[in-house]
């Protein structure tokens, strides 16, 4: 076996600036795609449960396609496929000093749209887990659908949604590697670039694997803390008012608020 330990330690403990940028991009993409996917998933879940048949079937079709085709295919389709077909081309967007390249946008869109389908099913399950008596009580007090969802049902559904949401984010951290195929310089593509310059595949892939393992482990610890706060049903610790809103930040609650 040939394993260059000094090389391994060097890249593990003193990553280059490019490597750190890749790590940063992985993190930003994961968080952004999960937040967008969760928000879209919420609306998809509500649409899926709607009594309006056309809306319900559109969402069903959407979920069917997004869960039934490989994410890798979706990524290439959205970035390269749409452009090649002359339908849509992702152009770089310049926001002052920050430029968001087209392929990063496409990667984010693909990851978010895919995640939305999974989150829709998770959120729908969470909503249906809330006792129907809660909805009836809210209705009897004169609440409209939007208000009772926002104030009564979704805060209670959050308890059922949070554990699977944590697992989704774990998967998301790793799924971002797929956007390397459209040239997004996240952690894996940065590693590949280094590999082609040094030919040290064994060492560099060990390093990158350890980086992902660290990310998912740290997330696992955070996830445990969050879940323990939500584990006991209907006790003050589990339902500290506002915690759900603080946790989701703008992702779920303000999106619903705007709609309502």
């Amino acid at each position: 076996m040939s394993f260059d330990w000094p090389f391994f330690w060097h890249y593990l403990l003193r990553p280059s600036a490019a490597y750190l940028n890749g790590l940063m991009l992985t993190l930003v993409l994961s968080v952004a795609a999960q937040a967008l996917g969760t928000s879209l998933g919420l609306f998809a879940a509500l649409g899926r449960m709607s009594r309006m048949a056309p809306l319900q079937y559109t969402i069903r079709g959407y979920i069917w396609i997004m869960r039934g085709t490989p994410l890798l295919v979706q990524i290439v389709f959205i970035y390269t496929g749409l452009a090649a077909g002359g339908i849509f081309r992702f152009e770089d967007i310049s926001l002052g000093i920050l430029t968001i390249p087209g392929n990063v946008q496409a990667g984010l869109v693909a990851l978010s749209l895919n995640e939305a389908a999974y989150m829709a099913e998770i959120i729908r399950a969470g909503i249906t887990s809330v006792d129907s008596g809660q909805t009836e009580a809210a209705k009897s007090l004169g609440m409209t659908y939007g208000l009772l969802m926002r104030r009564i049902v979704l805060p209670q559904a959050a308890r059922f949604v949070i554990p699977p949401l944590g697992n989704e984010f774990n998967a998301m951290l790793k799924n971002t590697t797929l956007v390397s195929v459209i040239g997004v310089p996240e952690l894996l593509l940065t590693t590949e670039t280094l590999t082609s310059a040094t030919f040290r595949v064994f060492e560099l892939y060990s390093v990158v694997a350890l980086y992902y393992l660290t990310l998912t482990t740290v997330w696992g610890i955070i996830q445990n803390r969050i879940e323990s706060r939500f584990s006991e049903p209907a006790t003050p610790a589990a339902v500290t008012p506002g915690f759900g809103e603080r946790f989701f930040g703008s992702a779920i609650f303000s999106a619903v608020r705007k709609k309502a």
Binding site: D131, G133, Q134, E136, A137, A138, K139, S140, L141, G142, M143, T144, Y145, L147, R151, I152, P155, Q156, P233, A234, T235, P236, V239, P241
Partner: protein
């Protein structure tokens, strides 16, 4: 709201009395092919306490749930304070009203459920102030003051910051009554409010309801509590098989029931 009864067409059930809160006319309701309400008509005047009794499956709970449109009806009309509940009439046919209008109508109709249905993620006080603040737009400080008054009225001043899971069934039901009262309803519906309670907690809930009746609240109560019916009810209505078979004062109904079904039912539970 406009003058009571103003909207009731004279064609349906004649000229309404001015102090009428509820007028249900020939209400029919199906669950699939099963007809659960077979033409129920009932009128309740302001300040009246009506207790509905009857065997399980007689449609009494379903009927009360129709009064605030938690259940749809297939035909007939239900008016509360003169307003057709849940529907609009279009060419003599009933068309379900818009959600916003139905929600508006429900503000005036308080409802207490068998299983309390307190919001699990809100404290006792939080449960009470929720709808006044977010449905009526009452300023928070005012709503909290009203909420604390109501908690005192149901004897739970010290439980304001406690979550439902830490309250006994009787306490939860009293909070639920306070929550409904916070909307200042003109009608209160009680759907078997003591059926899910341990025997030793029934009294505290009935006491609150009795106090409410004495304060002049219009109430429709589905209940098996014959003692309560005898003491508090102005009228007792006996339902069986989707129909009202007999109604009258508690004395009439309990001492001299005329209908066979009433006699049979009462002999079983008294």
């Amino acid at each position: 709201m406009s003058a009571p009864s103003a909207n009731i067409p004279a064609s349906i059930g004649g000229v309404p009395a001015p102090d009428e809160v509820v007028r249900a006319v020939e209400v029919h309701k199906f669950f699939g092919k099963l007809e659960v309400l077979k033409g129920v008509s009932l009128t309740v005047r302001r300040g009246e306490v009506v207790v509905i009794i009857g065997p399980s499956g007689s449609g009494k709970t379903t009927f009360v749930r129709c009064l605030n449109h938690l259940e749809k009806i297939e035909s007939g009309r239900i008016f509360v304070n003169g307003h057709l509940i849940g529907y609009r009439e279009r060419g003599g046919r009933l068309v379900e009203d818009r959600e916003r209008n139905i929600a508006r109508q429900r503000r005036e109709i308080g409802m207490v459920f068998q299983r309390f249905n307190l919001f699990h993620h809100k404290t006792a006080l939080g449960n009470i102030v929720e709808a006044p603040i977010h449905v009526l737009g009452v300023p928070e400080r005012e709503a909290v003051a009203i909420g604390r008054d109501l908690l005192a009225r149901v004897g739970l001043s010290d439980k304001a910051d406690v979550y439902p899971a830490q309250l006994s069934g009787g306490q939860q039901q009293r909070v639920a009554i306070a929550r409904a009262l916070a909307m200042k309803p003109s009608l209160m519906l009680f759907d078997e409010p003591t059926s899910a309670l341990d025997p030793e907690m029934i009294g505290e809930v009935l006491e609150v309801m009795q106090e409410l009746a004495h304060a002049g609240m219009t109430m429709i109560v589905v209940s098996h509590e014959m003692g309560f019916a005898r003491e508090v009810a102005d009228r007792v209505v006996m339902m069986d098989d989707g129909k009202i078979v007999e109604e009258g004062t508690p004395d009439q109904l309990f001492q001299r029931p005329t209908h066979k079904r009433t006699q049979a039912f009462l002999s079983k539970i008294l």
